[in-house]
Symmetry: D2
Subunit: 255 residues, 4 copies
């Protein structure tokens, strides 16, 4: 029996509790809509967690068991305690996949994993977004058409100051005149990271079948290896002779 | 008249002052040997700075004027005050080139710019290193042969846990059986970064003509643009009409 | 029920028939050893084909059904008729995965897919090769250690004149002093391509469990998407109004 | 005295001679407008050549002397004789820079250098194009703003079936709803290649100062190294002992 992918959908869950117009769109929170779709996948086991749960909903045991962490945050980036960011960072480097949605590009964990992350343009003007596929053979776009149209989204525009992505899978056209790299991947340590741009809280983006298929695909793509190579580091002996002899890490002969 | 590249060579300068065997190799410090070569270039103007200078030798004025910062540190990474790291980081993101030598991969600035930087193997066993060119059309290897041999070097071995480089220009063969990515480039913000592996303090690596040619080439490659694009970010008006009208960053019509 | 990956292992099959020392190592041909391992995978269905079969063993039906093509050729690159190369090229661009082993870097199909492919160094001196993992989170190295040692292999050395790989998964150390990029990936059209260096016909490389695990992993990695995006190209109508109106591909109003 | 960059601007020069509306825009040909700008650069020496010149304007001597070849073709791709494509290919691999403009993506040389090049969308509807800078520290965008607006251009739309670029410097927004990767770089052999999308013959694109600055920058960026590494390939002796002895390329001891 194949082990199911253990998914944790984390949401700051502030807008949906404290802003009526957002509550209308996502009455149970963005995390529940995303989890609802993933729970229907036979190869996934899904839990949710929010800032309002004890320990951010992220006990050591849950972090340890999570194969892929899906993250949505916006207003409360900085209320996630550094201690949890540290734990998640270590787990991500060790192989846990991470999927950062929309404004989560401002989260502590995203910035910790990527290093130099700067600003970009943005506009909340109910404008059209069209995401074009730039890598049609990539697992993340399986089952999608050549573009995904969203009738209303927040705009994020270039230049977005991020490290060069490993892969640019999707890029967006916006009605107001800008473009954005909107589906990008990175590897950090053994962990795979997928950033997916759409998902402003005012719009029903996460009810869109294509958006959810991309998140579902991204989850599979980001899942850790069954058995990744064990890496050793630090001071090591030579494998081959150096000046005629095997040597320890300080250069002494090993006889 | 073309403006000269303003180079600052920074060295922690501890080994050469406090360890006799190192002092013998670099009596005036590694920084002086590197600066000595670069000063002979008609297109460069060079200053040096060390941890033992006031303000780490890095006044605001010097930071502002520096086009390319060359960095060597090892034992004293953590004695560079965070305040200076912040200043250098901001300047690097804004376009200053950075060249990190050897153990400087452990410096605060390198880790700040790259984010997730983990460990690698190492061994001090006077072993042979041979750096092979993997991009023979790259400016960094202008004037170099297809490989550079160093009779004695410290070994750094893979897997080295770093973000995927933008470019892999040189990779090393070591006598003891390991390999390493040893000449790699990144872009962060507008700044170009070159990491160059060799340069253990016990060996006369920086007297090697090929090594110095690579550092010289790297300095030219990393120099900022004369006039880089001015990037705007934050909440912006639409450039094109959205639903029939130009809009401000909150979606209101601009008439 | 999940559809099995349809694998075709193609071998030129000359050395093993006409050179006694090679026949001893691979009495039924390299293709049979590779197929033998893959046939044990519950998610794969495997056939073999050689230059000595009718139509190179590659009927239109077989090409159409093949999800992943594994290729070994050396002396007889140029005896594969252009017509078959054309068919395989089209299928690869349309999504069929390709795995090129060892000297297959000289095959017509490899050069057709990659364009500018030049030379590299080589030596047949029974020397040791050690392949180091450079991307420990990559599916191709699942179940492998941090390096794979082969006691005897032919050497291929840098600089190897190939287009920049999308990913550098493994690189080799050779006893005689060279290094090589030895596990590299590309995407061409919708097709994923994996080149894997070891496999000189004189040595029992394809009996090595790690080598076969890497080929097995590569096969899964290169398998086509279940449903890749349908891409349209050519002269297209506008999706959005241009100067006030939807337009056809020649600029005429569509009313 | 620094050697000037030897630039050859090649144009098929058909539209401008045989279509009145194009002749009006470029009475002396696109090549003359491009050359006119580059001739004003103190570090460049410029010649032009067209399909209507003897030997395509590309004698062996001119090919040998050319540092950077700028190419524009559209209707007459296939009238460039294979013999010249072979010569240009060899020179490009050996280090000559190449800049392919607009429809030159269909030229024999472009396809020969890149291998698998497929289709893309296109539309001639006098629509607006806005090229956004995605790498603001790249030499190709020196002196440019964060985007370049062109009031009328032909649209090229994704997905464009090309090998993954080494760098994505500029990407375009089109009025009609599409996007395109419009400023991309590759390395092939020792040669650098820059593809720059705008430049439909009906529009005065090459009179635009930003467009010409980008071509000028690209020319400098693509210029060959003063002294690139000499690469050896083929059967080579070992540098280090193998099983105790230096060996020739067939494994025999060298004593």
């Amino acid at each position: 029996m194949v082990k199911k992918i253990q998914v944790t959908v984390w949401n700051e869950f502030w807008h949906e509790q404290y802003q009526d117009n957002i509550k209308e769109v996502y009455p149970d929170g963005i995390h529940r809509v995303i989890a609802g779709h993933l729970e229907m996948q036979p190869d996934m086991e899904v839990r949710t967690a929010t800032l309002y749960d004890a320990e951010c909903g992220l006990s050591d045991e849950i972090i340890e068991q999570t194969d892929v962490l899906i993250w949505w945050s916006h207003m409360k980036h900085d209320e996630v305690p550094d201690e949890w960011v540290d734990k998640l960072y270590k787990r991500a480097i060790a192989g846990m996949g991470t999927i950062f949605l929309h404004s989560s590009s401002g989260s502590k964990l995203f910035k910790r994993l990527l290093g130099a992350v700067g600003g970009h343009k943005w506009r909340e003007a109910h404008e059209k977004e069209r995401l074009w596929v730039l890598k049609p053979g990539h697992p993340i776009v399986d089952g999608i058409g050549e573009c995904v149209e969203l009738q209303e989204e927040e705009m994020y525009g270039e230049y977005w100051d991020i490290p060069e992505p490993d892969e640019l899978v999707l890029a967006s056209w916006f009605e107001g005149g800008e473009i954005a790299r909107s589906g990008i991947t990175y590897t950090r340590g053994k962990g795979r990271l997928f950033y997916f741009r759409p998902g402003h809280e005012e719009y029903p983006t996460y009810y869109n079948a294509n958006v959810m298929r991309i998140i579902e695909n991204g989850t599979r793509w980001a899942a850790p290896l069954a058995s990744s190579p064990t890496i050793t580091s630090g001071n090591v002996n030579s494998i081959e002779p150096i000046a005629g002899f095997l040597r320890d890490g300080r250069g002494n002969r090993i006889d």
